[in-house]
């Protein structure tokens, strides 16, 4: 073994990763291992960020064929970006794994159903709202419970998974998309103007939370502008290797919001997945000369709602909650990706009556297992992570579990149903909204 032999300087094999150079930047120190949720569960190198990058590099260097195993390992990544926050040489590990997924898409395409849904249904809040009617009808007739009960008795994992999927489905109210006026004026003293980005998941699964978001923004002195025809942020498509599609969605949103950018101080959204993606538009379109500058200008204005409210919160507003203990679960895409950690905590600190108890492993945050559609595609791993999170929640003794992302909220709500823990699960803005309206009784009850 010659230890000082030079490595090949270029790709030998054909993934043609544009980031091959950065891939080689991994120094294999292993710092990412202990913060990676899937490594924590398995203690197996292939389930670690370092391992995944090494597999990509081996394929690229011609040392490993592009096997089903490689695909499996790339998609076992939660895309939680915990690794990015600790990497000493600053390799953007999460992004590289997504690039790897794109590179293998030719030979290992995503399942048809996933692509179909992402291409034709999950393309924007208004379109996604079409799901809402049938879902509510089925739930009103209790056909979902019947189906889940039947499936639970079907032997084998498929029945169980389908049953779980049906149980996971939210019980939403009326979608919000077309209800909002283009300008909803401030209800408190007017100080700011913001544009509101309505996420698909928020609109379909928890429109009442976004109603609360708009109320709180207005109460805090913001005129809220919601342009019609918003596209999906593109995060789910990016995650599932549909890079061209997600870039198209980005261009649509930029074009839609551009006329407002001079007028508003910020583009605000109450979905951490969306705020993360919208902020990444600058990077997504960096190599597109026509869109680079436009994307940069748009992304620079994006604020997660927790970030924005923390920055502008009027001192005269004091939300009140009945005396209760609470805990805050950081969404990965808010904390690990956007480094928004202190803002939601400060906002919750303003709520009289809430006593905050911290969750362990919050910097970097350990994923709850929701992770986009991961809880549907990787049910077992997702469940293990949810079980750990619910045990952490129980140990805090919190009665109210607060988060800031629809995926996390649904997952935690599911955890509540599974464990029967006496908790309520809420978005930060719900706590603020109820606290400002004097209705924060917080009785344990299922969402929706």
């Amino acid at each position: 073994m010659n230890l000082y032999e030079p490595t090949p300087g270029q790709q030998v094999f054909g993934l043609h990763l544009p980031d091959y150079d950065e891939l080689q930047g991994c120094i294999r120190c292993g710092r990412c291992l202990p913060v990676c949720p899937t490594y924590q569960q398995t203690q197996l190198e292939m389930f670690s960020p370092r391992g995944r990058l090494s597999l990509l590099r081996a394929v690229e260097d011609g040392k490993l064929a592009l096997t089903d195993g490689v695909e499996d390992h790339l998609y076992h990544c939660l895309d939680c970006r915990a690794c990015n926050t600790v990497c000493p040489p600053g390799v953007r590990i999460g992004e590289l794994i997504v690039r790897g997924r794109v590179a293998i898409e030719d030979k290992h395409p995503r399942p048809f159903l996933i692509k179909f849904m992402l291409r034709h249904v999950l393309t924007g809040a208004e379109r996604a709202a079409l799901l809402s009617g049938p879902l509510r009808l089925v739930q009103a007739l209790r056909l979902d419970r019947l189906a889940a009960a039947v499936l639970r008795h079907v032997p084998g994992p498929v029945g169980r998974r389908l049953g779980e999927l049906i149980e996971l489905a939210p019980h939403p109210g009326r979608p919000l998309a077309r209800e909002l006026a283009e300008v909803e004026p401030a209800t408190g003293p007017q100080r700011h103007r913001v544009a509101f980005f309505l996420g698909c998941m928020m609109n379909v699964a928890m429109p009442d939370v976004s109603r609360a978001t708009v109320r709180v923004l207005r109460r805090a002195g913001c005129d809220v502008l919601t342009p019609r025809g918003q596209a999906c942020c593109g995060a789910p498509h990016d995650d599932q290797a549909m890079l061209d599609f997600s870039r198209d969605l980005a261009r649509k949103n930029i074009a839609l919001f551009e006329p407002l950018l001079d007028e508003v101080e910020a583009v605000v959204t109450d979905c951490a997945g969306c705020s993360g993606a919208l902020k990444e538009y600058a990077e997504w379109l960096h190599d597109d000369p026509e869109w680079r500058e436009r994307a940069r200008r748009f992304s620079a204005k994006v604020r997660d709602v927790t970030e924005w409210l923390d920055a502008i919160w009027p001192e005269e507003l004091t939300p009140v909650h009945r005396p209760a203990t609470a805990t805050y679960h950081d969404p990965c895409h808010l904390a690990n990706l956007q480094n928004v950690r202190s803002q939601p905590r400060r906002l919750l600190g303003r709520v009289t009556g809430l006593e905050m108890h911290p969750l362990p492993d919050s910097h970097p945050v350990r994923c709850c297992g929701s992770a986009g559609i991961y809880n549907l595609t990787h049910t077992d791993m997702s469940r293990e992570l949810l079980d750990r999170k619910m045990a952490d929640v129980a140990a805090t003794g919190a009665e109210v579990v607060v988060s800031a992302n629809p995926g996390c909220l649904l997952q935690l709500e599911w955890g509540r149903r599974l464990t029967g823990q006496p908790i309520v699960v809420k978005h930060v803005v719900e706590v603020l909204d109820e606290g400002l309206n004097g209705q924060a009784q917080g009785d344990p009850r299922p969402r929706g």
Binding site: E5, P8, R28, G30, E45, M46, L55
Partner: protein, 459 residues
């Protein structure tokens, strides 16, 4: 590898703990260095019995076995250079006992060092060894390399805390060595042989470590020395005054500049040496000692001394040292970090020789280290894609090791010999001693199946 051997292994430890998948072999082909070599099979033992079964079969079939913790090593110690079995001990990661009356902890080898530290701190206790990889490295690996860290001047190295070991030797016999007491002279100190043996004599499956009370307070001072020799002398002066510092961390001018470029902390970049000194103990003593240290630093030739007066200020002074690793990672595509150790009085001369070696080989070398214990980390900046550069790196690495030995020092203070420094053992270690080391190896591992090609310069 013969499929019959794989089958035997599967039958012995369970098929789900034995993997030959192509992806798995790729993922277990490396450690913290840049080198790579795939094993033929990866085994994930859960129990001592699993490890014993693997070593019994491997010894009978003459198959190499390479124990592996978190593979963070910097000397190639966990590389399966001869193929064979990679033994992934990461799954044996339970803290078995924290015994307060006896102030000790019993752990499995895959426990992450920081997890042990956090677990014992809940009880007010302290496990001091703190290698830079403390977040990710394992206790088993720490024992195998006798890992150190910045706090060694005051608190010693991993081996100073090991009270007992369970090891499995080739053939599968399980040895219980040491125990739960500080004093123990019953028989020879076989346990000592396994500490720092880099997986060449046996596989550590359980470790009993001593704990000490957690000091209540810590305080820090940072000094800028125009002359590096003065910084070394200052450490001697501090010790002479009766203060044993917790850490004495040196950063040379290039290292300081790298940190400053990365974080903009306002560190002075026009001096040869920055010296971070911390003391720990009870709150009153710490306040008194850090003031005393500051005076000594000034009298020893420091141009500027920043002395923390609160825990927050103390933290702020640590910022530079904390950002050292990411900062130097950004200096060059690849790095070769050495860990030579010389008598403290020889540090100025060693640093001068490093400058000569850097010039002679036309390679940037930055230097930082824990000067209280003489341990320096000269780091060669390089690019692995360039064959000409890599030839010079090989030469510079050899020059550094030779210089350390010439000054009465040693090849490795804490990383281990592994495969990277193996060829230098002939010059770095007394010849008669080497012969006895070969005898020890033959005694425990007569068929040379455990981590072959490592540590000792014989095949």
């Amino acid at each position: 590898m013969d499929p019959r051997i794989i089958k035997e292994l599967r039958d012995a430890v369970g098929a789900e703990r034995v993997s030959t998948a192509a992806e798995d072999l790729v993922a277990y082909a490396y450690d913290g260095t840049w080198a790579e070599q795939q094993p033929d099979v990866v085994i994930h033992p859960q129990t001592t019995a699993d490890v014993a079964a693997v070593l019994r079969i491997a010894d009978a079939q003459r198959v190499p076995v390479v124990p592996r913790g978190a593979a963070t090593g910097l000397a190639g110690g966990a590389l399966p250079v001869a193929g064979g079995i990679c033994l992934n001990l990461a799954r044996m990661n339970r803290i078995l006992d924290i015994c307060i009356p006896d102030t000790l902890a019993v752990v499995q080898p895959g426990v992450i060092t920081l997890d042990l530290q956090k677990a014992v701190e809940k009880h007010g206790f302290f496990y001091p060894p703190d290698p830079a990889s403390v977040y990710q490295c394992t206790i088993g690996g720490n024992v195998a390399t006798n890992a150190g860290g910045p706090r060694c001047l005051k608190y010693g190295v991993t081996g100073d805390y090991v009270l007992g070991l369970e090891v499995v030797v080739p053939g599968g016999r399980v040895l219980r060595l040491g125990g739960r007491t500080i004093k123990n002279v019953s028989g020879y100190n076989l346990m000592g042989l396994f500490i720092g043996s880099e997986g060449t004599l046996g596989v550590v499956t359980e470790v009993t470590v001593r704990l000490i009370p957690k000091p209540a307070a810590q305080m820090t001072a940072l000094a800028a020395f125009p002359r590096l020799a003065d910084a070394c002398e200052a450490v001697g002066n501090i010790l002479q005054a009766g203060v044993v510092p917790l850490v004495t961390e040196l950063m040379d001018r290039a290292t300081t500049r790298a940190v400053e470029d990365f974080k903009h902390l306002g560190l002075p970049t026009d001096v040869d040496a920055l010296l971070l000194v911390a003391v720990d103990g009870d709150a009153d003593a710490v306040t008194r000692e850090i003031a005393q240290v500051a005076v000594i630093l000034e009298r020893s030739g420091a141009r500027e001394v920043r002395q923390a007066r609160s825990a927050q200020e103390s933290e702020a002074l640590w910022e530079g040292r904390r950002n050292l690793s990411p900062a130097i990672q950004r200096l060059a595509r690849n790095k070769l970090g050495e860990d030579i150790t010389v008598p403290r009085s020889k540090i100025p001369e060693m640093v001068a020789r490093l400058a000569d070696i850097s010039r002679a080989n036309d390679l940037p070398i930055i230097v930082y280290g824990h000067i209280g214990d003489g341990n320096l980390h000269p780091t060669i900046l390089c690019d692995r894609r360039d064959a000409a550069i890599m030839r010079r790196v090989e030469q510079a690495a050899a020059d550094i090791l030779e210089a350390a030995v010439a000054l009465g020092g040693t090849l490795s203070g804490e990383h281990g010999i592994g495969v990277f420094k193996r060829d230098h053992m002939l010059r770095g270690v007394d010849g008669n001693a080497l012969a006895y080391m070969a005898g020890v190896k033959a005694l425990f591992d007569p068929h040379d199946i455990l981590n072959p090609g490592k540590k000792l310069p014989f095949d």
